[in-house]
Amino acid sequence: MMGELIFRNLVHRPARTFIGILAISVEVALVVLIVGLTSGLLTETAKRIEGIGADIMLQPPGASYILGFSNAPMPIKIADKLRELKYVQAVAPTLLQFNSTGGVEVVYGIDPESFREVTGGFVFLSGHDMQAPDDVLVDDWAARAKHLKVGDTYNLFNNNWHVAGIVEHGKGSRVFVPITTLQDLIGAHDKASIFFVKCTRPEHAEDVMEDMRKPDNFPGYTVRPLKDLLSLMTSTNIPGLQVFIDAMIALAVSIGLLVIFLTMYTTVIERTRDIGVLKSLGANPPFIIRALLMESALLCLAGIAGGVALSYGVRAAFIAGFPTLSILITPGWVIRAGLIALFGTIVGASYPAWVASRKDAVEALTFD
């Protein structure tokens, strides 16, 4: 009976019910997409870097594992010294340069041969490897996003590059240029940002890292195993990011809470006489509160369902427009977003429900 009463109350005011559901949907979608975007970008970036196939990466002292965020190039000759270490099979010096024109990305300046030794080589979907100083390789996602094909001219760092090949994504960056050309363009002669090191066997990585940290070799330099990168790329490890996410979640909850508060408050005022009738039938305050909270909860559940659908829809739209964007929607965060929305709904509906339960029955029955 309570279910019938609640359902019919919601259906009786379709516009108000729709607005309530929409607010919750937006709240849920906001949480899911904000978290999905941040974790998606981080996870996808980490996977691409792990996809290089190297075992160890050497960076300047104090460098961030967010590659491209620290720009302190090292002498490229370090590669020679690294190759002399025991168990080192190949070393690929790489110059990272941040590009914010036409998007946000990190461009890799590579030596094609050494990069091939570490990564096993690109999988070419069309075209060929870099041969000329102005050749550029673009991965398939970036090619789709930038509408590039083999033979096109691509302006980057105020230089016109020739698209030599389209490669399969997943090897660090989306855009690769010859390291020597990039060094000239940014004034970093014989410099590299990072050295990717491949060991003879993955089990030797610890020994090689220990060797690298010795005083005779690279004391103070940042030495990291690539296999740990995925676990490092979380919002809690990135300064400020968790605060940003929490702020966005708080904003989303506020939206939902306020809309539900307003919706239920106007509902209580509109149904003042109905509340009086229920009280005349013997309904006690907990009954009144329960009815209103359950009505809000049902509204919230519909909103959560709408929010999940909205999240997937927005994600599809974003990916269609920005193919390089990665939005990770996980069941865990869908559930969390739903619980956050439910919490906000119950809090938002509590005061109106309490007001309703406290209404004087006689005044309510004579309310117009």
Binding site: M1, L5, R8, V277, L281, A283, A361
Partner: protein
């Protein structure tokens, strides 16, 4: 007489109250007020709606309370129904002193012993007739009783209208639904606040006849407030009020 004339004889389950009602007529009143006062506060001014009312109703009796607007009839009804709290005096309903009770206790008593019928019907607009009646059973706490539901709705001629919402029913039909809702849990007392106030003459007669039949055939104790002298012929006793006191024998305006 229309629908009222075709009301079938009540089922045995509901007739037991009739026998008990006539036996109790000589015993304790089912409803009694002693020096009842009800004061309303309009800013700093105290307005007495009831001034020392002494009122008693026997089990199975039907009483009409008459008086001009503002004489305190509705206040009396709401206080004896437990919807409002008395300022002074005593209110005894089936042996329970409402003035000694907390709001939760009065609510519980109202749920089990009192049925209300209002002038404006006060049906829940989002529920059908069936839902409006069933919700009274739900609140009562015994769940839906299909047998009792069928008996009451048949008695009030509502079988064909149960799927309709109040907006789809006439005033007379709505009031019959309200009566069904009020008696579905077999209350000790049925309190009616000008139940014919929003009805035309024909529907008024039907509703009043139904109340009379409930009283005569089922022994339902009925207290009705009205300002319509013609309605009083359906009741055993008429009580007149003026300015917050009972003035038996004084004609209404």
């Amino acid at each position: 007489m229309g629908i009222a004339a075709t009301i079938p004889a009540p089922q045995s389950a509901l007739q037991s109250a009739a026998g008990q009602g006539s036996e109790k007529r000589s015993l304790e009143p089912i409803l009694q007020t002693e020096n009842l006062w009800k004061l309303y506060h309009a800013g700093k001014v105290e307005v007495p709606a009831l001034r020392g009312v002494n009122f008693a109703v026997q089990p199975g009796e039907s009483v009409a309370v008459m008086g001009p607007s503002g004489c305190g009839k509705s206040s009396l009804l709401y206080v004896i129904g437990g919807l409002a709290q008395a300022s002074r005096g005593k209110v005894l309903v089936d042996g329970n002193d409402l003035t000694e009770m907390r709001d939760s206790e009065r609510t519980k008593l109202r749920r089990s012993k009192i049925g209300f019928v209002f002038q404006r019907f006060n049906l829940l607009p989002t529920l059908t007739a069936r839902g409006n009646i069933a919700i009274a059973q739900y609140i009562h706490g015994d769940g839906f009783d299909p047998h009792r539901f069928a008996v009451v709705t048949k008695m009030l001629g509502l079988e064909g209208r149960l799927a309709h919402k109040p907006s789809e029913m006439s005033g007379g039909e709505q009031q019959r639904v309200a009566i069904a809702r009020a008696i579905i849990n077999e209350p000790k007392i049925l309190l009616a606040d000008e139940p014919t106030g929003n009805l035309d003459t024909k529907n008024s007669e039907i509703v009043l006849e139904m109340l009379r039949r409930l009283n005569k055939d089922l022994g339902q104790t009925v207290v009705m407030i009205t300002h319509n002298p013609e309605a009083t012929v359906y009741f055993d006793r008429v009580v007149h009020m003026r300015d917050g006191v009972i003035v038996d024998g004084v004609p209404a305006d």
